[in-house]
Symmetry: C2
Subunit: 228 residues, 2 copies
Amino acid sequence: MGIIELVSKIPLFHGLSREQLDEVVNILIDQTFERGQTIFSEDEEASGFFVVITGQVKIFKVSHEGKEQILHIFGHGESFGEVPVFGGGRFPANAETLAKSRLFFFPRAAFLKLIKKDPSLAMNMLSELSRRLRHFAHLIEELSLKEVPGRLAAYLLYLSERQGGKNELELDITKGQLASLLGTIPETLSRILGKISSQGLIKMQGRKLRILGRKALEDLAESGKLLL
Amino acid sequence: MGIIELVSKIPLFHGLSREQLDEVVNILIDQTFERGQTIFSEDEEASGFFVVITGQVKIFKVSHEGKEQILHIFGHGESFGEVPVFGGGRFPANAETLAKSRLFFFPRAAFLKLIKKDPSLAMNMLSELSRRLRHFAHLIEELSLKEVPGRLAAYLLYLSERQGGKNELELDITKGQLASLLGTIPETLSRILGKISSQGLIKMQGRKLRILGRKALEDLAESGKLLL
DNA sequence: CGGGTACTTGACAATGGTCAAGTGTGGTGG
DNA sequence: CCACCACACTTGACCATTGTCAAGTACCCG
């Protein structure tokens, strides 16, 4: 697929005219990363931001002792690393590929020029950052106000919805990464999966999973607490 | 002070021309809230956003069982409730005054018109939302990767810095609100304050507090763990 | 087939939340 | 001006949830 066509499918650039898309194509840099490569690290000086074309990228924080909290996992069409473009110069978190990935990189200065000229690009960016803020508000709520079983249940229901609302679903990340996304560790996740399996809420084999008690899962996601 | 002068001092509107400021003044609605009043609730339909002129507003989430997590406390010159202006229609959290407050309300449609015409207003908003994202990333890190003593130490150091870097400082919120800001409850906060007092890191009386062991506090804030 | 990684399980420790009771204090009204 | 009430805060005893450490199993890739 041509670059212009790829760019036109990125939500951030929806609604731009053909000429504007050309300008966007002119400033981007096409990059490929292997699985497990660091894209940038927290506090590193930022010279621009990225859009995922193929692959998966995780954005995360790491504690002193090495525990990791994933803030976001981005896939096709999503952008990351914009904050330092508008704020100050440094990345607020780390970025690493979860799979071999193709990324478009947009240099800061050239992109700022574009956005100042084009109100619809600015509006797209505002709505993207708003979506991001919503996501963070939700994540904070989960981490602070629910226990791990509640977060897990909410995640499974979200995944099911994203995969078409069916009761059969498949994790798109390892359980270790899922643990980090839920703000816990693999051991705890493993135990809780075992517990809700034995209670008949789900059936799990490998990365595939079937929801058997959707109602009970919903209660769990809402209350945030596991009985028993 | 005249409204135009108040508006010109709001960071969001820095760099606007006199004519643009006039337009801003034309669309705003001047409102007053008593202490403890609800400004909006989560999931409520939003028709615009707010800027704090005087007073204090907390933005927070509440769990099923009533535990509260404060996302942000806003004071003079700061704006809140912008997310639904750009994203979809509903507020992602609750807002309530901590003191009697004067707020300027900006209706969504009129504000969107302004921002589309004015690139510098759009850029100000982008940098404000970026700052907000940074704050959330930091909050998530604190909640997920540090224990309560670490969060408390980090907060005290932040407060000290905000109050001029001195070792004497004064809380601007109740300890109960502070607990909610740190993602814990008053009992736990009270115990930890007691513990670090008896270790000689701080001396606390009422809302006033003196830092006695800055180095030790810094270690604590960084490692996130309290020894002993 | 071998080796590393992902995952699971068990025993244990500890952080922090719950419940309950008590202390202190500021503000209001008698 | 003082008494009382409400509310903020503290303290104690208890316990649930979750993290740590250690070991063992399963599985995928070369």
